[in-house]
Subunit: 225 residues, 2 copies
């Protein structure tokens, strides 16, 4: 399984990049180091200039892979959701009970890296921090509609639609499955963030068990009542 997973290739929409960053050494370095720099500096303070400096390369070389840092962010975000979908399909393959599948999905959202801490290109722990801190900036822009048309959010929407399918399987009568899924996913991320930075807006204690428990109950209660 480990071996299998270290060989899988997550596919990312080709319109996101100018040149496929997985196709070269430099491209992979750009992915790896941009991830860790965005994590350290935050998206606002991260620049291609700084990344070039760190990689001992030039701005122009980086621009050959990504048009700008927005696209680079979208790349990371897309990769994350493709990866989580993959994990979800794997983890729920042998499950019958849709409630159990939902619980598994919540578990994955809360602990996306359990068992897969070290992939070649991606440090999943860092990637999840970036998803939590920065991913909403990928769609909260004036260019959402264009970006959406280009399919930049399809990995995210695809993951959501899998959870929606579980809900429909479990409770076909529930009227707001898509809204509930989106609220749950973003709610989990927000709670992880608030727990650290605005603790009065969270009841979660040190670990992540509270968050997992809360959202599991929350989603199952909502569809079953």
């Amino acid at each position: 399984m480990e071996a299998l997973l270290s060989n899988i290739q997550i596919q990312v929409n080709e319109k996101i990049f100018q040149k496929d960053p997985t196709s070269s050494d430099l491209g992979q370095k750009i992915l790896r180091e941009s991830l860790s720099m965005i994590d350290e500096l935050g998206l606002e303070n991260f620049t291609f200039k700084k990344l070039a400096l760190r990689l001992n390369t030039t701005e122009s070389s980086i621009y050959r892979y990504f048009e700008n840092k927005h696209k680079l962010l979208i790349y990371h975000v897309s990769w994350y959701w493709s990866w989580l979908s993959y994990r979800l399909v794997f983890a729920t393959a042998n499950m019958q009970d849709p409630s159990a599948k939902l619980e598994k999905a919540i578990h994955l959202l809360v602990h996306p890296c359990q068992g897969y801490e070290d992939l070649k290109t991606y440090d999943i722990k860092t990637l999840q921090r970036i998803i939590i801190h920065e991913s909403s900036k990928a769609y909260l822009t004036k260019e959402v509609d264009e970006d959406n048309k280009e399919g930049f959010f399809s990995a995210y929407k695809d993951f959501c639609s899998r959870l929606v399918a579980f809900i429909k399987e479990s409770q076909p009568a529930y009227k707001f499955p898509s809204s509930l899924v989106a609220t749950t996913i973003e709610g989990i991320h927000l709670q992880k963030y608030f727990k650290e930075h605005l603790p009065s807006l969270s009841d979660a204690k040190k670990g992540d068990q509270d968050i997992e428990l809360m959202f599991s109950k929350f989603i199952l209660n909502t569809i079953n009542h």
Copy 2:
């Protein structure tokens, strides 16, 4: 009531600004026009230079009121939450049933401008669009912790704590009131956004009734089961 409301002064934490923008004509113009420009351009494309041009003033004059556009955003966000708290206190003053108070709160979150479309400085409809599109950028930064220490998010936290109080009144046993409130508030905003821009992540139809209904049921179900 109209007259009363047009005289109320919403107080904003003094550390947010360099010079109180309500204290002068230019300051009020800065508030009014920055709001409409952020709405039109989005926070990323909005600059003090462009605002200065629109106001027939200079960048330096604007910098006398706000250190940077992040602080200006925080000002608008704080004002919004103070205003909503004020509305909430008013609207729930004569209510006994905490569930009804929660429903009222949801209603206000979904329709914050009903009855108060035109205030002098603030166009509440525009303000709410900015809250939906931009407010998470106020706290999703590397400077959250410092900003939080300065009290920049206290208006938001204060509003949340009012809803938490309602939940505790209604269901003292519910374990995650703060998390539920934060999830609900941000969920409402996100659904309003997704309804427009990523409709596959929402079940809401044209109006906002669906969103109101969904979150009302959602919060009451969650605490009562």
